[in-house]
Subunit: 115 residues, 2 copies
DNA sequence: TTTAGTGTATTAGTTTAATAGTACACCGCA
DNA sequence: TGCGGTGTACTATTAAACTAATACACTAAA
């Protein structure tokens, strides 16, 4: 897997899993691949995936069953969706608008480029 | 100065200088503060500012006069502007649109939030 | 009970960014 | 010439992220 260099890999993996949950790959209560499997899949060290899973656990997106593995929490999809929507409107959008103003880019230019 | 933790400080400083050039603070051919001055201003180590200045030199945005200091290049403002516009249309905008689609956010919602 | 697959814990080493302090060559100017 | 301000080079240290390898307790299933 390709990672961007400016952001910790374990966070990029956590976000990837969020995207997969959002895309329906792991329905609520579904078991995720083990840390060793996932590490092999994205070609990364096991410890890095452990950090990603712990990060997601802390956000109540997944949880652990001792000796069995990690499972998606109830309402995980909605949790992820809400979390990302909030980040979009509170951070991404203002940043986006700020850049537009700074560079003198009009709404029309954006609409034109979006096609 | 406040720095974000996920991005190298020397890059954030370089971008800050780009913004200042864009804002007209350092016209073409104008001398920048010395590395020591700038380091004191943003409360950072001298070596970090050195890296920022070297990074900007490599992009032909500023240049060095031996024993005298750094100066903005001819066309620096336009160089910065073009560079940022390209990044906007090639990276920021596609990423923005991708997030909208992923989260099911409509153009109307964005327009509403922008007010 | 044994076995294989879980997560977890620990230790060690590498890399990159940043800090800190020092020394040096260059330049303008008094 | 000599002084003070430039950038530059160098070494050392710290912290975070990542890699690597190992050991261990837990669980389900044979």
């Amino acid at each position: 897997m390709q990672f961007k260099d400016h952001k910790p890999i374990f966070l990029q993996i956590a976000e990837l899993i969020c995207d997969e949950i959002l895309g329906g790959k792991y329905p609520e209560g579904e078991r995720l691949p083990s840390v060793r499997e996932y590490a092999a899949e994205v070609e990364v060290n096991v410890n890095t995936v452990v950090r990603s899973f712990e990060w997601l656990s802390q956000k109540d997106i997944i949880y652990n069953k001792r000796g069995m593995g990690y499972y998606t929490s109830l309402g995980a999809k909605e949790t992820v969706r809400e979390s990302l929507r909030e980040a979009f409107f509170q951070e991404t959008l203002p940043e986006f608008v700020g850049q537009m103003q700074k560079l003198g880019i009009t709404v029309e230019e954006v609409e034109q480029a979006m096609k």
